[in-house]
């Protein structure tokens, strides 16, 4: 998933009150920032690849595992419990959003078995080929477009822009 992550992260922020026991308001700046940062955190594994510190095969390994999500939540919990629960939800939703890719995710790292729903072929971790290749396939349009439609409905229900 590429652009769809924007809609998914925003949709997660719309559930902030339910996920945090009312500590954070839906679509508030805090909810959006926490959701976005947590949601994008796994994809920062491309930075060491760009810097040539890690191999291409580093992408979608530790950063896309449940142990990573648990560590992030444990780090955030002493700072703010709301951030921890919202961040954990965002990370798990990120994994679900990436699972339709053929490359699969090693959710149970260090056990290296990869789990995939295999709806679209993986096109690499970054770059124009990855982007273009993603949108040459049907299921990415269906699911990512669906995420934006879902976000529209959530915005309507929560009466935020464009429904103010």
């Amino acid at each position: 998933m590429q652009l769809g992550h924007v809609a998914v992260a925003l949709a997660v922020s719309s559930y902030a009150p339910e996920l945090t026991g009312g500590r954070i308001e839906a679509f508030s700046a805090e909810a959006i920032i926490v959701s976005f940062v947590a949601h994008w955190l796994p994809n920062l594994d491309v930075i060491p690849i760009w810097l040539k510190i890690a191999k291409d095969s580093f992408h979608c390994t530790w950063s896309h595992s449940l142990i990573f999500a648990a560590v992030v939540a444990l780090i955030l919990a002493p700072i703010n419990v709301g951030w921890a629960t919202l961040g954990l939800a965002s990370l798990i939703i990120h994994f679900l959003a990436d699972m339709p890719s053929s490359v699969g995710l090693p959710l149970l790292m260090p056990w290296k078995r990869r789990f995939t729903i295999n709806l679209w072929a993986d096109t690499g971790h970054s770059g124009w080929v990855a982007f273009k290749g993603t949108y040459m396939q049907a299921w990415t349009w269906l699911l990512e477009g669906g995420a934006f439609v879902f976000l529209f409905v959530r915005a309507y229900q929560k009466q935020v822009w464009p429904f103010v």
């Binding site: 191999k55 291409d56 095969s57 992408h59 053929s102 490359v103 679209w120 072929a121 993986d122 096109t123 690499g124 971790h125 990855a130 290749g133 040459m136 396939q137 049907a138 299921w139 990415t140 349009w141 269906l142 699911l143 990512e144 477009g145 669906g146 934006f148 439609v149 529209f152 409905v153 309507y156 229900q157 009466q159 464009p162 429904f163």
Partner: protein, 75 residues
């Protein structure tokens, strides 16, 4: 991509937009025309996904990408 695919997407998106309005619209807060048009625009994207399921070019692209391993070490 077949020429019919974007048009088919528009029709599927239209049906999806109507369904969403029927299911989620609150009679006390009806969608404005602008919001309806925006919804139709958004629904075109998943509609495109459904239409591409019936497009052989999209299927071929998937099969071609499945042959490539983007993570194997470069020699």
């Amino acid at each position: 991509m077949l020429k019919r695919t974007p048009l088919l997407a528009l029709m599927i998106g239209g049906v999806l937009a109507i369904l969403i309005i029927l299911i989620f619209e609150n009679p006390a807060r009806p969608f404005t025309v602008g919001q309806g048009v925006f919804l139709l625009f958004l629904c075109w994207f998943p509609g495109m996904g459904v239409a591409m399921l019936f497009d052989p070019y999209a299927q071929k692209a998937r099969e071609e990408f499945l042959k490539i391993n983007f993570y194997e070490e470069k020699k």
